[in-house]
């Protein structure tokens, strides 16, 4: 289905919007996570959601996959009204949207290959136990995706024996296993060292370009966002405060989304430090999370 549409409709689809978020508000108790956020993404776009920790990036992404229901507003993905879908149709839609997590979210005790195969669950029916629960064609496809992310040799290792960068590549392979039309990534490199970060980001972009995928990826590193995305969408306190092509955008301009206008290099440095510490907080949160 995906192949069909991408081959025949490329020209017309270029203008079609595959993600349509209109005026979405979401609160958790007293916390307003999203405050009337709107966003429209066309097929094949590579969009970065930029914002400090707590600005609502994860919440927005989770809405796109129907993992969260909006208090008000609508979310339409691939023509489906995600916010009102349930059951089989919701699962079918989720199958067409790949999700890459900050914490990878692999099953640690399963092999890498089994983890990738779970990406096919939307297409098969019923529970699958072990490798042999999936047919040969699926296993071969999973190996293909593993090869694509450079981990074919690790196919039968336990997921928790891999490094962080490798685990995230397995996470990518799992998302690819869905044959997705859209790839959502929630701070995919926030838990990785700089070198693995670069590898993973490059890989996501490469695959997206190859397969003509639409990508929405949240990040909080301004430099990375500017060099990686085609379009930057800035979030602050759950509101979209910036939406512009990345090309030609300066770092200083982006800093405005954090509520300041940088005038001196010293101030720029100060904000950079703040960003770093925001990143560190994220990591601490992540550790606390994994400890639970």
């Amino acid at each position: 289905m995906r192949e069909l549409s991408s081959e025949t409709n490329t020209a017309t689809d270029a203008a079609a919007s595959v993600i349509e978020v209109a005026n979405v508000t979401k609160t958790f108790g007293d916390t307003v996570a999203l405050n009337g956020a709107s966003l429209s993404v066309r097929r094949g776009e590579i969009v970065v959601l930029l914002g400090l920790s707590g600005s609502g990036k994860s919440t927005l992404l989770r809405h796109l996959d129907g993992l969260e229901e909006p208090d008000s507003g609508t979310v339409t993905v691939l023509g489906e009204p995600v916010s009102t879908l349930a059951g089989k149709r919701l699962r079918a839609l989720r199958g067409r949207v790949g999700f890459i997590f900050q914490q990878f979210e692999l099953v640690p005790s399963l092999t890498v290959l089994e983890n990738v195969l779970t990406g096919a669950l939307a297409r098969v029916s019923g529970p699958r136990l072990g490798l042999w629960g999936y047919n040969r064609a699926l296993r071969l496809a999973a190996l293909g995706h593993l090869d694509r992310v450079g981990l074919l040799a690790q196919a039968y290792q336990r997921a928790d024996t891999l490094s962080g960068g490798q685990q995230q590549r397995v996470g990518i392979a799992r998302a690819l296993m869905q044959n997705p039309e859209i790839l959502l990534a929630d701070e995919p490199v926030a838990s990785l060292d700089p070198e693995s970060s670069d590898q993973v980001m490059a890989l996501i972009r490469e695959i997206a370009m190859d397969q003509g995928l639409t990508v929405v990826c949240s990040l909080h590193q301004v430099d990375l966002a500017l060099s990686w995305g085609d379009r930057i969408v800035g979030l602050r306190h759950g509101e979209v405060v910036l939406d512009t092509p990345a090309a030609g955008l300066s770092k200083a301009a982006v800093m405005e989304i954090y509520g300041r206008v940088a005038t001196t290099t010293a101030e720029l440095d100060a904000i950079a430090t703040e960003l770093e510490s925001a990143r560190a907080t994220d990591l601490i949160g992540a550790t606390a999370e994994s400890a639970r």
Partner: protein
């Protein structure tokens, strides 16, 4: 999920001065709740009351050491009468041993099978609704509350003699503990992988099989093995109500005053329990010791034997890398990778899998289950049910029975307090992070394993012979038997505390004892309270059972009622036990909630 990181910030924000409230108001608003809630005070007082009641029970039971020394004469007499210990014929012995193990295993597996759906309903994160959750949790409590002996008594009536009454009694009773532990394990999983499967479009069932099951499996296997150990020890007493196996032979021997054979069988059962304990600990370690985990005694042993999962290095024997090295085409390399290499992990899994399969098949075969009974059973059902209903006090009156129940509770309370005191010492010393040296730890662990190996009932028989019939014997038997379990649970809990605070105190120059008192023990306190209630709960049922061999309390009446075919009285006693256990369980749940 980001909740933990974000909450304090949010709290701090909302706590900012809103006007001229002044410094004090701000501070108060921002300070974490430190005041004790009335509920916490009530729970604390209940705990104190329970401790006082336990001490009073202990005093009233009047365990006097001089008297015990005096009664040493009894023991001498006894052993003179025993003479040389004798055993059954080797062939018989082998068959009886296999039958006992097989029957117990079948019962445990029966329980494990039915515990899966119950646990799914009972776990907060998988339950389809709050009502289901309460029902699932209650099912667990209910099954646990009915002693397996009582179930066996009932089933022996319903089925032709054979292994089936034993299997069903063990199975149904074990669902209680197993379903609870299964549910607790589900509640402790990392939700991430499960969320990932939901995000990929998986169904609830797929979330369970692919996201939850792999995470809980090691813990589930450990639970089943642990329960199997308990059931093996418990199978001795089942023999007293007619369930086949070593227990039945032992009860025959003692009833015909053949103490020499009785003690011989007791010795065999003890050895069997120890062997089983070792086997399950090996299996447990082989499963859990896969990921880089503890440096336990068993772990070290296994590592030396080369059974531990190793980190597979990239240059592993995998077909894929070999193929790549030979510069195969990509497609060929992928096809080649379809064949899973026989690496250490796969070899081990295969061997364990086959071994487990064979043991299970063997158990079913040796148990020689009379499947036909399941058909004829329905015919007996109305008749049998009529015998048990309506409940009555029989030839006794209510005060007598209530006093007997009171005595059983007193035994349980007294035994529990003795167990707690001993377990705090032994259990702490058996924890890696508390023991002054690995040798002390190993020694204490050995003590705990040995105690766990002694079925309470054997201990009770010996003690009854030594101290004469009575409640003292029962109390001491339970207290000693409990140390094996509570000591182990406590040691494990202490080893699982977060090492951070300990390191912080050590770094601040605290002594070993200070680290224990300041960092380790406080973190283990919650576990101690939880485990102690579990102990009390176990002890109430065990105290009942001990009555069957003359340990005092309501068990004595239960035995008489069963043997005298007064099944309406059996029902009364069972209901009394049920109510008591449910009350204890409710208290335990309350404590766990309050002292979270």
């Amino acid at each position: 999920m980001t909740l933990t990181a974000a909450r304090p910030r949010a709290a701090a924000r909302s706590g900012r001065p809103s006007g001229g409230a002044g410094d004090r108001g701000t501070l108060e608003a921002r300070a974490p709740r430190r005041r004790l809630s009335p509920e916490k005070i009530a729970a604390g007082l209940t705990l104190v009351a329970l401790v006082v009641a336990s001490v009073v029970s202990l005093v009233s039971i009047d365990i006097s050491i001089p008297q015990m020394i005096e009664s040493w004469g009894n023991a001498q007499n006894f052993f003179e009468r025993v003479g040389v210990i004798s055993f059954p014929e080797p062939g018989d012995l082998l068959y009886l041993t296999a039958l006992t193990v097989g029957l117990v295993l079948c019962g445990t597996l029966f329980a494990a099978f039915f515990s899966v759906p119950i646990a799914f309903l009972a776990a907060a994160n998988t339950t389809p609704g709050r009502g289901w959750m309460v029902a699932g949790r209650f099912a667990g409590v209910f099954f646990r509350a009915v002693p397996d002996v009582v179930l066996a008594m009932v089933f022996v009536l319903m089925f032709s003699l054979g292994s089936l009454p034993g299997i069903l009694a063990i199975g149904i009773h074990s669902i209680g503990m197993i379903s609870k532990m299964f549910a607790d394990a589900i509640e402790q999983i990392d939700e991430g992988p499960r969320l990932a499967i939901r995000a990929a479009g998986g169904t609830t069932l797929q979330e369970f099989t692919s996201g939850i099951l792999p995470q809980v499996l090691p813990s589930w296997v450990a639970t089943v093995l642990h329960r199997n150990d308990i059931n093996l020890r418990g199978s001795v007493i089942l023999g007293y109500v007619g369930v086949v196996g070593l227990g039945l032979e032992m009860s025959y021997a003692f009833k015909s005053l053949d103490y020499s054979l009785g003690l011989g069988i007791a010795l065999i059962i003890f050895a069997l329990c120890v062997v089983m304990e070792i086997v399950s600990s090996v299996v447990r370690t082989a499963m859990l010791g896969f990921a880089p985990t503890r440096r336990s005694l068993g772990d070290r042993l296994l590592r030396r034997l080369g059974m531990r999962g190793r980190r597979v290095d990239p240059a592993d024997t995998s077909a894929a890398s070999a193929a790549l090295a030979r510069k195969m085409s990509r497609a060929d390399a992928r096809t080649a990778a379809l064949r899973r290499p026989w690496d250490a992990a796969r070899r081990r899994n295969t061997v364990w899998g086959w071994a487990a399969g064979l043991v299970i098949i063997g158990s079913v075969l040796i148990s020689d289950i009379q499947w036909g009974d399941f058909v004829t059973f329905w015919g007996y059902l109305p008749e049998t049910a009529a015998k048990f209903w309506p409940p009555s006090f029989g030839s006794y009156d209510a005060p007598t029975m209530i006093a007997a129940m009171g005595e059983t509770i007193a035994i349980a309370l007294a035994a529990t307090i003795l167990t707690i005191i001993a377990s705090i010492v032994i259990g702490s010393l058996a924890a890696r992070n508390v023991a002054p040296s690995p040798r002390v730890r190993s020694g204490m662990r050995l003590v705990l394993v040995s105690i766990r190996g002694i079925p309470e009932i054997i201990l009770a028989i010996v003690l009854i012979v030594v101290t004469g019939l009575g409640t003292q014997a029962g109390t001491i038997a339970l207290a000693i038997g409990g140390i094996g379990l509570l000591g182990k649970l406590l040691a494990d809990s202490l080893e699982e505390v977060k090492p951070g605070p300990e390191q912080a105190l050590t770094a601040a120059g605290a002594s070993r004892l200070q680290v224990y008192a300041g960092a380790t023990a406080p973190q283990g306190m919650k576990a101690l309270i939880g485990h102690s209630f579990y102990m009390l709960d176990t002890n109430i049922r065990a105290a009942t059972i001990l009555g069957l061999v003359g340990g005092g309390g309501v068990g004595y009446f239960l035995l008489n009622a069963g043997q005298g075919s007064r099944y309406d009285l059996v029902t009364t006693i069972v209901v009394m036990i049920l109510v008591t256990v449910l009350v204890v369980e409710a208290l335990a749940m309350w404590m766990r909630r309050v002292f979270r």
